[in-house]
Every structure is written in structure tokens, then in C-alpha cells.
């Protein structure tokens, strides 16, 4: 009987005690096995609560949530200090169930850091980091496919942009690099797990000998004992502190280096050889308006993997002509809303430099200006950026939510 192996997840002490009180909970009383006596069943019934007539489909999420908070308040062993944390926890669960790489929950500290980055202040190595998931596994998870492999859902940490003047730049990191280890600790990723599984299959086929598999497995387990989750690794890279040693992968090659961890500040607008480099930070709309008025003719939007859509819309309002520039399309092809510029300018002839590192709000900005006839886009870019909304919760936490792909108006599927 594999009792111990079940682990403590399944181990539970089950005690039903008489729970009197305002929540009106109906429970059956049992005498716990403390003395080995058989349970005695005594039911305490509050007449209005009999389950038989009730139909869950009629109950709203709000009621359900409220009832559960009541239940917890009246039975949980500790006083619930911050009830708003329960609401935030519920939202965290919701966002998690979306299994969407662009929809993320941030606890209070993380959300504060996100907003600092959106204002141009970066802590740690000064690089924009993204999680890259195995899309096939994500899809399975979304479809509640029981063959979803939790280990393969672990994302890679990819450098999306390196801030100018940052420790990451000094250490030689480049966009596209995948973080492999920090201070000698392996950052969990699915590649080694896939290799292990493939070796296993090869052993079954007979093409690889058993010893190699066992050796790899032992090495793997040793690495796993001293590893970091992607969340913990990202935290280390985004906080100030001592210099740290890192290794990363570029085109299959491993590179190592050391990076300081300190504050890196960037300006929204920076004059470079190629024009005016723009990062859509808070407050950049006004600066952009002034620059354009002063005759700026080339905007460089490269190196912009993230950015707030709210700021993007402000920027459009500041410099773009009015008009519709696109429509939000959901995953099943429905249109969720037309996007229009609130601007009133007569801007034209602007040149925008982009490449694959122009993503999200920056890409939408470029596409909008192009669609409105105000600019021409030079270079590669993400032509169907995912529109992401950002929302704050009362307890300081927050989340991003992907609401649709921005596509040009009139474009058929």
C-alpha cells in the first residue's frame, strides 16, 4: 500500500466538529479518532439551509465568493487580517486559469516594480525579461487536457530588451538570450526534462544504453536539488543587491558573466544617431508632442518589448491625427472594439524605425500612426500585437489582461 508515497498533499486530518455560529454551516459532528472510538453522528440543522432545493447555477460568483469568505471568517483557525487579500487571491486564481502568457498577476511588490519600470526606473540588472512558454502545453492546459505535463509548462526566461547604461548591457547580455543559471543555481526549464524523457524513450527503443540515462537522471536530480524557479530567478535579477554571476544561452552556446544589480534609469526620449529613440514611459506623451513640434522626423521604437497601452493612447492623442486605426479581435475571431485615436493633429511624413524587439504597445503605436497616414514604418515588427490592459486591486496587487489582437480595420481573417 503506497500510503507514505502519497505525500503530505493528500494527508489530511479530518475532523468534523460542531460548528455553531452565524455562518449557519450545516455539518455533521464526528468524534475524532483520538481515542479510537467510532464516530457518533449528530446533525445540527438550520432549517433554511437544507441543500436539496438549491441550485448552484442560480448563484452568482459574487454570492459564492461572499459565502466562502463568511465560511472562512467563521471557521478558519486564524483571524483573517486582510479580507481584500482574499479577493486578490481569487483574481490571482482567475488570471492563472487563463494560461495566457500576456495575462499576469503581480503581488503588491511586483506591481510596484512594474509601475516603476513603466516610469523608467529599473532595479537589478536592468533588462526587460519575458517568460516564454511551450505553446503546445499552454494550449493543452487551457483545454484542461489531462495529458498536460506540469513540468513542461515551466517557461524560459528570455531577455527581451537590454536598457542602455544597465549592468545587463555591461555584462554583454543581448535580446534573445535565455537565462540558464544564477550564482551557480540552475534556473528550472523544460529542456533538460525533455531530454531526460527522450533518453528514456531511446532506452526503450534500445538505441541508448541504460547507464547513460541513469547518469543523466542523477545529474538532473542533483541540479534540481539546487535550482531556482523562474519566478524566484526573475526576482533575483530584478532586485538591487550584490554583483551576481550568470550563465545564459545564445544560439545553443553557453555564455557566462557577472552583472551588478543597481538602479538603471532611462529617459522616454533619447537622441541617437538614428533619430529619436522613444520608450513609452509615463509622461512621455507631452515630451513626444514637443519633440514632434520641434521637428523630430524619425522615431526609433526598437528595443520596446513592453509598455503600457494607456500611455500609448495618450501618445496618439498628443501627436496623431484623429481616426480609427484598428480593431481588437478575440481568439475566436470576434471583434471586441474599434480603436480610435483621440488626437487632432495633422502629423505626416514621420519615419518610424522598428524591428522584432518592437512589441506590444510600441508596435501598436507604430501601426496606428501608419494606419492614420502619419508615418511610414521601416523594419520588421509584430503586426498583430496583443492589446494588454492593466488593472490595480485595492490591496496593492494588480494584473495585466490580454484583451485581443490589434488588427487593421477591414482586415478579414
Amino acid at each position: 500500500m503506497t500510503e507514505g508515497g502519497k505525500g503530505l498533499l493528500a494527508a489530511a486530518a479530518v475532523v468534523s466538529v460542531v460548528a455553531a455560529g452565524g455562518a449557519g454551516v450545516l455539518v455533521r459532528q464526528q468524534v475524532e479518532m483520538g481515542t479510537g472510538e467510532a464516530p457518533a453522528a449528530t446533525a445540527i440543522v438550520d432549517g433554511s439551509l437544507m441543500a436539496s432545493n438549491s441550485d448552484i447555477s442560480g448563484m452568482s460568483e459574487g454570492e459564492y465568493f461572499y459565502k466562502l469568505t463568511q465560511l472562512l471568517s467563521s471557521t478558519y483557525v486564524e483571524q483573517i487580517q486582510e479580507p481584500q487579500d482574499l479577493a486578490a487571491g481569487a483574481v490571482r486564481g482567475l488570471i492563472g486559469s487563463l494560461a495566457d502568457p500576456h495575462s499576469r498577476f503581480y503581488d503588491a511588490d511586483e506591481f510596484k516594480r512594474l509601475r516603476e519600470r513603466q516610469a523608467g526606473t529599473y532595479h537589478g540588472i536592468g533588462a526587460e525579461l519575458q517568460y516564454r512558454y511551450n505553446e503546445e502545453q499552454l494550449d493543452k492546459a487551457r483545454n484542461r487536457d489531462s495529458s498536460t505535463d506540469a513540468l513542461l509548462l515551466i517557461p524560459d526566461i528570455v531577455v527581451a530588451a537590454v536598457l542602455p547604461g544597465s549592468p545587463a548591457e555591461e555584462a554583454g547580455l543581448e535580446p534573445g538570450d535565455v537565462i540558464e543559471s544564477i550564482e551557480g543555481k540552475w534556473v528550472m526549464n523544460p529542456r533538460d526534462i525533455l531530454k531526460l524523457r527522450r533518453l528514456n524513450e531511446q532506452v526503450e527503443e534500445g538505441s541508448v544504453n541504460d547507464e547513460e540515462l541513469m547518469k543523466f537522471r542523477e545529474d538532473f536530480n542533483e541540479k534540481a536539488e539546487n535550482s531556482l524557479t523562474p519566478a524566484r530567478a526573475t526576482q533575483k535579477l530584478n532586485e538591487d543587491g550584490d554583483r551576481i554571476s550568470l550563465t545564459w544561452l545564445r544560439d545553443g552556446k553557453k555564455i557566462s558573466g557577472k552583472a551588478a544589480r543597481r538602479v538603471t534609469s532611462i529617459e522616454a526620449l533619447r537622441k541617437t544617431d538614428s533619430g529619436l529613440s522613444v520608450t513609452l514611459l509615463n509622461g512621455s506623451a507631452d515630451q513626444l508632442a514637443r519633440a514632434v513640434k520641434d521637428g523630430a522626423s524619425t522615431l526609433d521604437l526598437r528595443g520596446n518589448p513592453s509598455g503600457s497601452y494607456e500611455v500609448m493612447e495618450q501618445a496618439l492623442k498628443a501627436i496623431a491625427p484623429s481616426g480609427e486605426y484598428g480593431v481588437l479581435r478575440t481568439d475566436d475571431g470576434a471583434d471586441q472594439g474599434v480603436k480610435r485615436s483621440e488626437g487632432s493633429g495633422s502629423l505626416s511624413g514621420l519615419q518610424i524605425l522598428t524591428d522584432r524587439t518592437t512589441q506590444g504597445a510600441a508596435a501598436a503605436f507604430a501601426l496606428a500612426l501608419e494606419e492614420l497616414g502619419a508615418a511610414t514604418v521601416k523594419g520588421d515588427l509584430d503586426r498583430e500585437p496583443i492589446w494588454v490592459e492593466q488593472h490595480a486591486l485595492p490591496n496593492g496587487s494588480g494584473y495585466t489582461l490580454a484583451v485581443g489582437k490589434l488588427v487593421a480595420k477591414g482586415e478579414q481573417q
Binding site: A43, Q84, G89
Partner: protein
């Protein structure tokens, strides 16, 4: 209240008993909405939102605006799961209907197994222990074998709990296991007939390599007290220089048993103080007149899987000054849960009481929202890791570094 005094700690699925016809909690309590509505009236429009308002606002936002559709019940269950996780108590969880059902099935104990304890492994499940003379042992399964398939289906990536459910089944039925074994060229196919397994929960002897008594306690069931006393007396009659009690991988069991076993060492002493929601604390004490008059140095072995009654036993002995703890910090479970089935067949498992150790320590395990350990458990007096975790065999001098340390310790005292 007398009932509270009888509350025992029930860990270990085999000993959980549900009375028939568990009660339901009706979530449609007619009172609550009006109570909230009233509060809203009194507070006025600009007042901070209630947790329920926060939840419903963001639930609607996410459900309506996300670029993908998700079924309502999926969203609801994920939200409630996240809400419970916000408490940071790994034992207070929301169980969605399919999980709640599995949980209750496991506790009914009609299923039997093969007599082996399994642990995690990236290729499937690792055989950690094989019980002497049980089906697995007789079929030739050995510790450190890796189960990679059950009845022909690969199990890589599944949780140990899931793999265990596949292996368990009705008595007399056969399960086919595919195993990897070091030194064996091809995977092994072994068929095992499931049977009721009697696990001796306490076994003791004098060590071969040192004049020290060694008792291994694997769980705290009803029969453990008797077995423990019998082997303890046997050991004492041989006049050892010290005693090592092994509580590693012991998931706990009946608090009453732990208390009786403590009674052999200390009479009429507090075992735990129970703290519940209503803040009334009850003391639970060791029996009188059962002391065996032991005056030996004692070391107790613990590890990360020592939980509940095992932690209480070890912690109490430590608090009485009767033993030193050797190994790694324990799990952190000394609490009682109530499982409340909800109207839609989901369940809420909620910690309703905690057990504090004699000197008042609260050892409850705290985790973050991702379930990662933050604090909890008992720290050993002597931190000792197993030298070879993959190859170690508990109780075998040559392959158990923690045992060697403990034996040396008691001989020196």
C-alpha cells in the same frame, strides 16, 4: 467542551473516516446579500469597495474582456482556489468537484496497494521503500527502482498522488508495472497482485554496529503504541548506551497514540495545547503511571516528511529536555482540518484548530501563493543531511548518515 478534548489528530488516509451522509452547506443563505446591501447603504458611494465588490468587478472584467472564452465553472473554481491559497496555509484548500471526489474516495480505504512507498521522479515515481513480505517485495520490486509505466501507460510528468491512484485497486487484482533499475539493460516488466498490507508501524532492535537501541516508527496508528512498547522493552533489557527513535518519513496519525508513547518517557505532561477559532485553548496531556523509567540519552531522527503526530512527539520530547533532534527540519503540520462539502460537489478543507507544542511553539507550515515553503516545521538540534539521498536505506549503518550521527551522539552523551 468534552468534544474538543477528544479531538485527535488524524493524518494518514487509511485512518480517515467519513460518517455517512456528510452535511452540505447551503450557500444560498438568504441573510447575507441584504447584510452586504445594508453595509453598502451605510458606507456611501465613495467608500472603499468590499472584497466581494472587488471580486465581482474584476471577475466580470476578466470574463468579459479576455481574448479567450473560458467556461464559467472553470473560472469560478480557479478563483475560489486562488482565494483559499491567499491564506498561505497549504492545508486550507478549495477542492473543485473532481478533486473533492477523488479525495473522498481515497479516504474510504476500499482500495489496497502493493506495499511500497513512492517518491517523486522526473521519469515517473521512485520506489523509496518496499515493505517486507508485501506484494511488491514478493514480486521482486526493490528500493530505487523507478516506475515509468503502469498497465502499459507512461506516467512521466504525473504527480505521485496520481501514480499511486493508478497502482491502487481492488484486492486480488493485478497491476503491471514497468520499472527502470540500475544495472539492468532493459526496463523490467513486473506484475503485482494487490493485497491488504499490514505495515508494522514500530520496529526496534539493537544496532549491529553500536550498542544503541534503534526504533523506527512509520506512523501513529492504533496498534503502534503496543508495538512500540514491546520493542522498547526488548531494547531496554539489553542495556544499550542510548536510544535512537526514527521518525523520518512518518506522516503522523493519531494524536492519542503519540501521547501514549510519550507517556513511556514522561508522565502527566502537556503534549499539545489546542487553539481553535473561538480562542479557547485545551491542553492535552500524557497519561500517568506508564513511565518506563528510561534514563538514556535519546536522539530522534526527523526529516521534511515527518509531520503531524511525528512532529508533536519529537517536539514534545525536545521541549521536555529528554531528546535531541537530528536530521532536517520537519514538515510543519500540527493542525486539524474540517472538510465541508459544498452545494456544487466541491469542498472546502479548512484548518480549524492548531496544536501548539508544550512550550507554546506554533510549527504550522506557511507557503506563498505558489505553494513554495516560507516557514514552518521543527528545526533539528543537529542539522544532518543524508549523504546519498538516492542510495540511502534507513536503518542500514553503511547507507544512513543521519543514523550514524544520531548513534554517535547518544553514545557521547
Amino acid at each position: 467542551m468534552k468534544i474538543v478534548g477528544k479531538i485527535g489528530l488524524l493524518i494518514g488516509l487509511a485512518t480517515i473516516a467519513f460518517a455517512s451522509g456528510f452535511a452540505f452547506m447551503d450557500l444560498r443563505n438568504g441573510e447575507a446579500p441584504s447584510a452586504e446591501a445594508f453595509t453598502a447603504l451605510v458606507k456611501g458611494e465613495d467608500a472603499a469597495p468590499t472584497p466581494t465588490e472587488t471580486f465581482t468587478d474584476h471577475y466580470s472584467l476578466i470574463a468579459n474582456r479576455h481574448l479567450r472564452d473560458l467556461p464559467d465553472d472553470e473560472l469560478r473554481y480557479s478563483a475560489m482556489g486562488g482565494m483559499f491559497a491567499a491564506l498561505g496555509d497549504p492545508h486550507t484548500v478549495f477542492l473543485r468537484p473532481e478533486v473533492a471526489e477523488e479525495f473522498s474516495l481515497e479516504n474510504n480505504g476500499d482500495f489496497v496497494g502493493i506495499g511500497a512507498r513512492l517518491g517523486e521522479d522526473p521519469l515517473g515515481a521512485l520506489v523509496a521503500t518496499v515493505f517486507e513480505d508485501a506484494p511488491a517485495d514478493r514480486a521482486g520490486i526493490r528500493p530505487n527502482d523507478i516506475i515509468i509505466a503502469v498497465d502499459g501507460e507512461k506516467v512521466a510528468g504525473e504527480t505521485v498522488t496520481d501514480i499511486v491512484s493508478r497502482i491502487r485497486g481492488e484486492e486480488g487484482t493485478v497491476v503491471k508495472l514497468t520499472l527502470l533499475r540500475k544495472g539492468s539493460a532493459d526496463p523490467l516488466q513486473i506484475s503485482v497482485t494487490r493485497a491488504e498490507v499490514q505495515v508494522p508501524s514500530a520496529e526496534g532492535r539493537i544496532l549491529n554496529d553500536a550498542p544503541v537501541g534503534y526504533i523506527s516508527v512509520t506512523q501513529f496508528s492504533e496498534s503502534t503504541t503496543g508495538q512500540f512498547e514491546k520493542d522498547l522493552r526488548k531494547i531496554l533489557s539489553r542495556n544499550p548506551e542510548g536510544l535512537v527513535i526514527d521518525m523520518r518519513s512518518n506522516p503522523g496519525g493519531l494524536l492519542d497514540t503519540a501521547s501514549k508513547m510519550l507517556g513511556f518517557f514522561a508522565e502527566g505532561k502537556t503534549v499539545v495545547t489546542t487553539v481553535g477559532r473561538n480562542e479557547r485553548s485545551e491542553k492535552y496531556s500524557t497519561p500517568r503511571g506508564k513511565s518506563l523509567g528510561i534514563n538514556l540519552p535519546i536522539a530522534i531522527l526527523i526529516d521534511g516528511q515527518s509531520a503531524s503526530a511525528a512532529e508533536i512527539f519529537a517536539g514534545a520530547m525536545q521541549d521536555y529536555g529528554l531528546a535531541e533532534l537530528v536530521g532536517t527540519h520537519s514538515y510543519g503540520k500540527a493542525s486539524v482540518q474540517n472538510v465541508i462539502p459544498l452545494i456544487d460537489k466541491s469542498s472546502a478543507k479548512i484548518t480549524i484548530a492548531k496544536y501548539l507544542l508544550p512550550k507554546g511553539r506554533d510549527i504550522s507550515r506557511k507557503v506563498d501563493a505558489d505553494g513554495v515553503y516560507i516557514s514552518g516545521g521543527i528545526d533539528p538540534d543537529h542539522e544532518v543531511e543524508l549523504e546519498e539521498p538516492m542510495e540511502a536505506i534507513y536503518g542500514e549503518w553503511a547507507r544512513d548518515s543521519q543514523l550514524r550521527y544520531a548513534a554517535d551522539l547518544v553514545m557521547r552523551r
